[in-house]
């Protein structure tokens, strides 16, 4: 899987940027396309400088039209290119809903394999950055109902690279979600060279035997901090699983952990009702109910639109590390 010669410390935005750069460098079929990816270099500067190096055909500033950003990418993919399309903020993805759900995810199926759609759709999601109602949303639950659509939400720089490479190499459409608060907040070592992390594989970030916490994105880092503090201060042993892929979901890793700890807490920033946690809860209830010693809990964003612009409104929406700690403690002691 990995041919590495060393590592570099990067933040998440740098990891995405470096991976896209390598993809453009190594495969002439790849191109990046979206709003303001050209001279501006994307609103988070992910593609800064790409235009000069790869030219306007491969660093394609599109008109302001999300449905066709994805739709045109679908046509490119059906005709042999490897487009990496960007939706500037996940809040803007809804005009492209049909192209993602009705077209990209069904291309292979409806043609019985005659056509394929090797397409990556990258989009920054999530809040905690004063993004207000229209620059903060989590969209994973709105897409994870869709068979054939892979969804990844990496949390670390090394995973950003490995899963983006996997998404680009994948012969089917992948929705690649980047939590925007982690962009510059999270740093870590990233191996050199091309490597992939398989889509559909979770990672156990911290081992423990008293409680399983399943999370993804920004919340993974908070959950780890909370679990580490609980271990240091109170000798509580919480296991933390970073889902990494929303769909396909790594059922085995979750079940193996739950059967060991006998307790499950799911944490995600997205709204609680019908969120990813609902599916995990149902799956664990179906498969491992009698292995549980406590009710399954979900610590999630409240069921209001994410999220108010005013600081107290945003803070009320986001899940604090302190709240995570408290809920973990309660569950371990249940």
């Amino acid at each position: 899987m990995a041919v590495t010669t060393g590592t570099n410390v990067m933040n998440n935005v740098e990891a995405v940027r470096a991976t896209l750069y390598e993809a453009l460098k190594n495969d002439p079929r790849t191109l990046v396309m979206g709003e303001d990816v050209g001279p501006r270099g994307n609103v988070f500067l992910i593609t800064k400088g790409f235009l000069d190096e790869f030219g306007p055909q491969r660093v394609l500033d599109t008109p302001l039209a999300e449905a066709s950003i994805v739709g045109i990418a679908v046509g490119m993919a059906m005709e042999g290119l490897r487009p990496i399309a960007e939706i500037q903020f996940s809040d803007f993805i809804f005009p492209a809903f049909n192209q993602i759900v009705g077209e990209a995810a069904k291309t292979r199926y409806r043609s019985n394999g005659d056509f394929t759609c090797p397409l990556v759709i990258r989009t920054p999601y999530g809040g905690g950055v004063r993004g207000s109602l229209s620059h903060s949303i989590s969209v994973e639950a709105l897409f994870y109902h869709v068979p054939g659509l892979k969804i990844v939400a990496p949390s670390t720089p090394a995973d950003m690279k490995g899963l983006l490479n996997a998404a680009i190499d994948d012969p089917d459409p992948v929705l690649y979600l980047e939590h925007k608060k982690t962009y510059r907040l999270i740093k870590g070592e990233v191996p050199d060279g091309h490597y992939t992390i398989p889509i559909g594989k979770a990672a156990v970030r911290k081992e423990g035997h008293q409680l399983t916490v399943v999370s993804y994105g920004l919340n993974v880092h908070q959950a780890l901090e909370a679990a580490n503090q609980l271990e240091a201060d109170e000798a509580l042993k919480v296991e933390v699983i970073d889902l990494r892929s929303i769909r396909p979901m790594d059922k085995q890793t979750i079940l193996a952990s739950v059967r060991k700890t006998r307790k499950l807490l799911i944490i995600h920033e997205d709204n609680k009702f019908g969120g990813i946690g609902a599916e995990i809860s149902a799956m664990v209830a179906e498969e491992a109910l009698f292995d549980l010693d406590a009710p399954i809990h979900r610590l999630c964003g409240p069921d209001v639109p994410p999220m108010g612009y005013a600081l107290p409104l945003e803070e009320e929406f986001m899940i604090s590390t302190e709240r995570m700690k408290q809920r973990m403690r309660e569950m371990v002691k249940f």
Partner: protein, 348 residues
């Protein structure tokens, strides 16, 4: 070839525009056979539905001239066709085998789409025919993306032909696709098969203008209006636009004005929203007998040859009907295949 915005409906012009085409007698006969085949396949689809043998069919009666003419301009092995659901005739005219149309009608295992989609939703990558869904205008951006790929790879003398009805032009994705194609001067021909009806909704309820073609000016491309009952006019316009597209001249929007003689599909009843008189008034210009008369008058075919052609087409359609009907359905287990490469979720 009239240019927008001069309105030119087919009705007052029953003659065939044969002024400047360069079609051989053989090609003219091929166009005629294609039109006969389309109509016979259409009728057969409706018959099979009324016999209870298939649950659904969508006809394209009234589109024969558009589809046979455009099919003749399509360069097999080079061009790409991104059609919509009323294009069975066009697909056949571009090389889609008749027998496979019947695999689709009967939803047999041998259907190239595995019997998953409605009939008329054909796919055949090896013939350059794109898979598409029922979502109106959803395929427009795919056509544009494919045209971008041709230009991106600098593949000369190739073009995309993308078709749609006038109803599709109301969709936002239609606008987005046209805009992008004009912006990048992509090698694509947009062919609107304006049959004046989107199920029960007439053109007057779709748009404030009489001609779809005038919308082209908003995208920096040429708009052309043609008589969609005249296969030679269609061929002329599509071949010219195709040539322009394939040689770097950018896209063209062609509006072929035709008429939908049948109900929307076998599940529709057009008597609930349009008059018999209206349909009959267009039947007088029915493109199939009209072209037949022209061919005979111009000595391209004799009446004896016409009868032989009709017999031959009916034989082909009968043989395909029987052969497809005798084929098995896909296995139920096929429901689970070809969602993604390999297995979908590992626990299923």
């Amino acid at each position: 070839m009239a240019k927008a915005p001069s309105a030119q409906a087919h009705a007052p012009a029953p003659a065939v525009a044969a002024s400047h085409h360069e079609l051989s007698k053989e090609q003219l006969r091929a166009i005629f056979r294609s039109m006969l085949l389309q109509r016979t396949v259409d009728n057969r689809g409706f018959q099979l539905n009324r016999q209870g043998k298939i649950p659904f069919a969508a006809g394209s009666e009234g589109h024969e001239a558009v589809q046979a003419g455009a099919g003749m301009a399509f360069q097999r092995g080079r061009d790409l066709l991104v059609p919509y659901y009323r294009d069975v005739g066009l697909c056949m005219a571009c090389g889609f085998p008749t027998i496979e149309v019947f695999y689709s009608l009967f939803a047999r295992a041998k259907d190239n789409g595995g019997g998953r989609q409605f009939p008329s939703h054909l796919t055949k990558k090896s013939a350059g025919i794109f898979s598409f869904s029922s979502i109106i205008a959803g395929h427009m951006a795919h056509a544009v993306g494919a045209a971008y790929a041709l230009k991106y790879r600098n593949e000369r003398d190739r073009a995309v032909i993308c078709t749609f009805g006038e109803g599709a032009t109301s969709e936002g994705e239609w606008h987005e696709a046209m805009n992008f194609a004009g912006l990048h001067r992509l090698p694509i021909v947009f062919l609107c098969e304006n049959n004046q009806w989107a199920i029960s909704t007439p053109q007057e309820k779709q748009m404030a203008v009489k001609d779809v073609a005038i919308k082209a000016s908003g995208y920096g491309m040429e708009g052309v209006i043609i008589d969609g009952f005249d296969p030679i006019a269609v061929y002329d316009a599509v071949a010219a636009a195709r040539e322009k597209a394939a040689s770097g001249g950018g896209p063209t929007l062609i509006e072929a004005k035709c008429y939908r003689f049948l109900s929307h599909t076998t599940d529709d009843d057009d008597r609930t929203y349009r008059s018999k008189e209206e349909v009959e008034s267009h039947r007088k210009d029915d493109p199939v007998p009209r072209f037949e008369r022209w061919l005979v008058e111009h000595g391209v075919v004799s009446t004896v040859e016409v009868e032989a052609l009709k017999k031959d087409v009916l034989r082909e359609v009968n043989e395909c009907t029987d052969a497809a009907e005798a084929e098995p359905y896909p296995q139920a287990s096929e429901l689970y295949t070809n969602l993604v490469e390999g297995a979908w979720e590992p626990w299923q």
